[in-house]
Symmetry: C2
Amino acid sequence: MATDRHQARRSRLVAAVKKAQLDLLIVSHPPNVTYLTGFTGDASCLLIGPKRTLMVSDSRFETQLADECPGLATEIRTAKTQTADFLAEILGKLGFKRIGFESAYTTVAAKDGLEEKATGIELTPSSGLVEELRQIKDSEEITAIRDAIYLAERGYSVLRALLLPEMTEREAAHELEHAMRRFGALKAAFEPIIGVGPQAALPHYRAGLRRLDEAPFFLIDWGAVEPGGYHSDLTRMVATSKIPPKLDKLHRVVMNARQAALDAIHPGVACQQVDATARKVIEDAGFGKYFGHGLGHGIGLEIHESVRFSPISKDTLQPGMVLTVEPGIYLPGFGGVRLEDDVLITRDGYEVLSSVPLEL
Amino acid sequence: MATDRHQARRSRLVAAVKKAQLDLLIVSHPPNVTYLTGFTGDASCLLIGPKRTLMVSDSRFETQLADECPGLATEIRTAKTQTADFLAEILGKLGFKRIGFESAYTTVAAKDGLEEKATGIELTPSSGLVEELRQIKDSEEITAIRDAIYLAERGYSVLRALLLPEMTEREAAHELEHAMRRFGALKAAFEPIIGVGPQAALPHYRAGLRRLDEAPFFLIDWGAVEPGGYHSDLTRMVATSKIPPKLDKLHRVVMNARQAALDAIHPGVACQQVDATARKVIEDAGFGKYFGHGLGHGIGLEIHESVRFSPISKDTLQPGMVLTVEPGIYLPGFGGVRLEDDVLITRDGYEVLSSVPLEL
């Protein structure tokens, strides 16, 4: 409930709203609302601009808003009014003209509904204003991400202690989530990916009904959400019997790609460059076409957020960014190897925030 | 993988698409795609119309699509093409003009992106076409919902056996989800609501850090998702020490409202009428203003779906619909009572699918 912190973020956003020549921005994406206000509920939006800041919510959240956002002006809708009518009425009273909305998170139906009811306003698509602020984490956010990593790592230790050959991928995923929650996680950061053998080659596999002893290794990609809503995201390979030489080879290449990426990380470096550095290691080893995704992504209040390590990224590293570094090689039919860590960009380089051993 | 069943659903949808004077509908809402094809992944859409049916997905899902939707025509995007470009190119090749899209699930950014790239087409907002088909459940869907209820009820029994006075709401919610998963649930149908004492009066409360022994009772609202994706949704009141007379009174009123609602349920009856019948019992007992939500909602591949029991519902009951019946009374500062069951509309009345005892 660090109100000053949220106030400072809102001030920075107001400057961006002004610069975008908007009178007001309707912030409706829940992680953006949380970032700006500390409010952890949903179905609410923040109207923010140089002249007014106002939270629009409904009676279900009245108590929670008073607790979480003391001092923030609010308008509370009752069950008798429709959302669009209520918002249109408020916008009408405020009397502003150029109103931005988050086009990547607003449905066509919601926008059309508001446009129909609100007169005299110009609804203008906007994108990335809050996401850009969220790229740089402050010290409290970094502490929260460290906590989320700690919860993920503690859960992983419990899972390793619980492993049985006959356990299915899905059972293992459920034990992992339960363990992370015991240590205080709100939930898993996403449905854990646990892929035995060939399943590890499917980048979008979740956790199915294969037994852990159906192949000599599995891939595990998991994370935790700490109580404040921040995420962690890790991947490791676990050998369950004699390590196949091919796996060992892939693992070494991925380890080298990871280290090359880390060595390239420094404030001011293009994210594209870091991706290219890791990719070259994998290409030089002859596996270039088996690394089909970007090298990493920002984490924070969402599991994937602004700032990417990828061949088409336009981002530049700055101190305070936290990204995953996750090179991988996926051989159809055999399996895949990915190693993923969470990395903080510091003033003079980087800090790997995660500490699970990398060995097979 | 009952392909015939999905084919039949697609035929019914094609008739609706024709009736809406569209050449093609882009179905992108994942539960709608699952309903029409059996595909359980995401980020994919089904193009469907009188002349062509085509699944558009990306390489991550290629294997899964072949497994889950044998015989369905597909177009697979690789990582080199952007989604909007790929879809625009396919639409261009198909050469149709009036293209509907699901306006309640399509963001303004996605629609604008497609519109910019696809030429010669008329993007037309559409809503509810698939949702309307999903209102009536077939026998396999009803079996799946029965399974989801069974999983929720088994999990609840385990939670009751595990209860300790010092357990927090959140710990109880986590034990409940873990127990449901042990029996085979994919996950909880939603973050369980467990509210001790006064928290039970907050309809949007989840599960926080209150200890179960902080008040003589708690409210628990929970459900499970079975492996096929169908949901259950139940609410019960649990007394943890001597029952306060006021709680007992509210509980009796809610029991009566529930029974009155069930007695009113029959095919052909207006949903509004069923809501009004239950509401009158609560109003007559003097608690009308403390029942602020609708009486119930459809369940299926989503936890809230089309067909509502509410004062503004326009729906009429038909055999095969499955809805929650969940009257409640919420007294600020004291607590709330809600009882929720899942009810199948049958040819000659109804069947309550859930069987957890209603007593405190």
